[in-house]
């Protein structure tokens, strides 16, 4: 009986492994026709034309990478600031409630951010940040063109909001793994609070915080709904951050259910496969970095 119990729980455990392998194998299998047809051209091609059956995914790769990079650029300093404030500087009594409020940001579903994005963030961006950039810095190619509101920059901002709780909560975990003797040592030497954070806490937590940021990146890469609703969905590569763009996840959300031919479906699955492989590599790297600090 004990043997049976043990073996049956093991079967369930093996299912977890089987599932991960099956996702990879399933996507790979379904993507094969496109892989065979286009080969490496799939990644470097710039035309996405379902009518002509010509599929190049570069605009989507570009959109995903740039919007995620923008999100990191915005969310990293803010998220780290939140983590430092909550873990090192805030009065003890307000720490838990504030942390809960920040975690609420993670509880709001992606599609609700998208809804808010369409009706609140996009008009705001069109008038203020993007509009200002277009008016005053429009001579830089980065901000050239009219400010539609929807576009790469808005996509980056909404992603930043969504990955902020990831970055701040993992950073907080890492910071609280830093031994208190580090802090006490610094304070005893007469450092101010900030100097303590800067010289005794952050260096110790460095690789873990980097891991938190990379986990945020993993989330940003695969995030679908909110970005789809505000990025403009135009498969073009533009130097301007104000121009509409398109991400890998967005094209899947918009076109997969309506894909008509086998090759079209297969090309979309290949995008999904690329997304899957990249996010997994990013996540594995991040987890290794976070673990290093927490175990030390």
């Amino acid at each position: 009986m004990d043997r049976i119990f043990r073996h049956s729980t093991r079967i369930f455990a093996l299912m977890v492994i089987a599932l991960a392998v099956a996702i990879f194998a399933g996507l790979l299998h379904a993507a094969m026709p496109a892989v065979k047809q286009f080969g490496f051209r799939f990644i470097t091609g710039r035309t996405w034309d379902p009518v002509e059956q010509n599929f190049g995914a570069l605009p989507f790769l570009f959109g995903t990478i740039v919007s995620s990079a923008l999100a990191l650029l915005i969310a990293t300093p803010v998220g780290l600031g939140v983590a430092i404030f909550l873990n090192e500087l805030a009065p003890r009594r307000v720490r838990a409630p504030l942390a809960f409020v920040i975690d609420l940001l993670a509880a709001i579903p992606s599609v609700v951010y998208g809804l808010w994005g369409i009706f609140t963030l996009v008009p705001f961006m069109r008038e203020h940040p993007s509009g200002w950039l277009a008016r005053h810095l429009g001579w830089i190619p980065l901000f050239r063109g009219p400010s539609y509101g929807v576009g790469m920059l808005t996509g980056g901002v909404i992603l930043a909001i969504m990955i902020l709780p990831t970055i701040s909560s993992i950073s907080r975990e890492v910071l609280s793994a830093v031994p208190n003797t580090q802090r006490e040592g610094a304070l005893a030497l007469g450092s101010t609070r900030w100097e303590m954070v800067r010289h005794a806490v952050l260096p110790y937590a460095k690789s873990g915080i980097f891991g938190a940021v990379v986990l945020g990146l993993g989330r940003a890469l695969g995030e679908t709904m909110a970005v789809t609703m505000v990025i403009g969905n135009r498969p073009e590569i533009s130097a301007s951050l104000l121009a509409p763009s398109y991400t890998m996840a967005s094209v899947l959300a918009n076109e997969f259910a309506e894909a008509t031919t086998d090759l079209y479906v297969s090309a979309l699955v290949e995008i999904g496969l690329l997304l899957f492989v990249v996010t997994i590599l990013v996540n594995i790297g991040a987890r290794l970095m976070v673990r290093k600090v927490k175990q030390a």
Binding site: T9, L105, I108, V111, E195, M225, M229, N283
Partner: protein, 294 residues
């Protein structure tokens, strides 16, 4: 005559070294910046919640939960079918995902030494990072393609894949918190290992395990992307697990992207209902876990 003497004037002037001054200023500045980060992080949260209440609350009538969507131009109508559909898809996902997750977690906590367990943990972590849209594609290839059409079942399968890693890891963590003395006591009384696990260890850890399950449910209830090409959506009431079915997040997406004001209104109300559902579940878990801890 004024006899009061300002004593401080007799003291040597207090000199704060310039370097110290600078350090204190930097300290102040950085603290303020960190405080600003918190403030900045709150802005979107407050704005989202405010908009949800201001725009969603007016549409929150009983009819919202009991009627089907109506065509543009007609008044009334609701998201009753989407609400029911969400419950059904989440229930299917739970029915598949919870047993697998809980038993895999039991294996990891009770027998989990050696390379196999390490691989399971690793894969569970990997799975929890897979983009939900890729999970939707997976469900499409294994359920929708063989059956030949979209179905509530395939949506449930997609959600179960998202639940499994969460349930597995929290179950493991919670079972590990059960003191070993309990296991030993049960075994010393002659209980076989399976009995000790199922009647002593699991019930002891049950509040934590349930909390993990609730968090997993709250996480998938708001998912849209994995349902787009599995459950697909449907304007009618639920008609069976092998038929396409509507879901609240998908309906919000469709209505939000439409050009009609009535639909936008419905989208906001739907979003309010969805967020309330999720936040209430999470709050309940937190309060429950806290009351258990004491």
């Amino acid at each position: 005559m004024n006899v009061a003497v300002d004593v401080t004037q007799m003291l040597p002037p207090r000199v704060i070294p310039r370097a110290l001054m600078r350090r204190k200023l930097i300290d102040r500045g950085m603290r303020t910046l960190a405080g600003c980060a918190i403030g900045l992080a709150m802005v979107p949260l407050v704005s989202v919640l405010w908009k949800l209440l201001a725009l969603g609350l007016p549409g929150l009538r009983p009819g919202f939960f009991t009627s089907l969507p109506v065509p543009v131009g007609e008044s009334g109508g609701g998201m009753g079918n989407a609400f029911v559909g969400t419950l059904i898809v989440v229930a299917i996902g739970s029915a598949i995902g919870i047993p697998i997750g809980v038993f895999a977690g039991i294996y990891l906590a009770e027998f989990g030494r050696g390379p196999l367990a390490r691989w399971v943990r690793f894969m569970a972590d990997v799975l929890s990072g897979v983009p939900s849209i890729a999970v939707g594609m997976f469900a499409y290839t294994v359920v929708v393609m063989p059956i030949g059409h979209f179905s509530a079942l395939s949506g449930g399968v997609a959600l179960s894949v998202l639940m499994i890693p969460v349930v597995t890891r929290t179950t493991e963590e919670m079972l590990k918190l059960v003191p070993n003395t309990l296991r030993e006591a049960a075994l010393a009384l002659g209980a076989p290992r399976w009995r000790a696990t199922l009647s002593i260890v699991l019930p002891t850890a049950l509040p934590g395990v349930l909390a993990g399950i609730m968090l997993a449910i709250a996480r998938v209830a708001g998912e849209t992307a994995p349902l787009l090409f599995t459950a697909f959506g449907d304007p009618h009431w639920f008609a069976g697990v092998t038929k396409p079915v509507a879901a609240l997040p998908m309906q919000i997406f469709v209505y939000a992207s439409s050009p009609y004001d009535e639909w936008h209104q419905q989208a906001w109300t739907g979003a309010l209902v969805l967020v309330l559902l999720i936040v209430v579940m999470q709050l309940a878990v937190r309060l429950y876990a806290r009351s258990r801890l004491r």
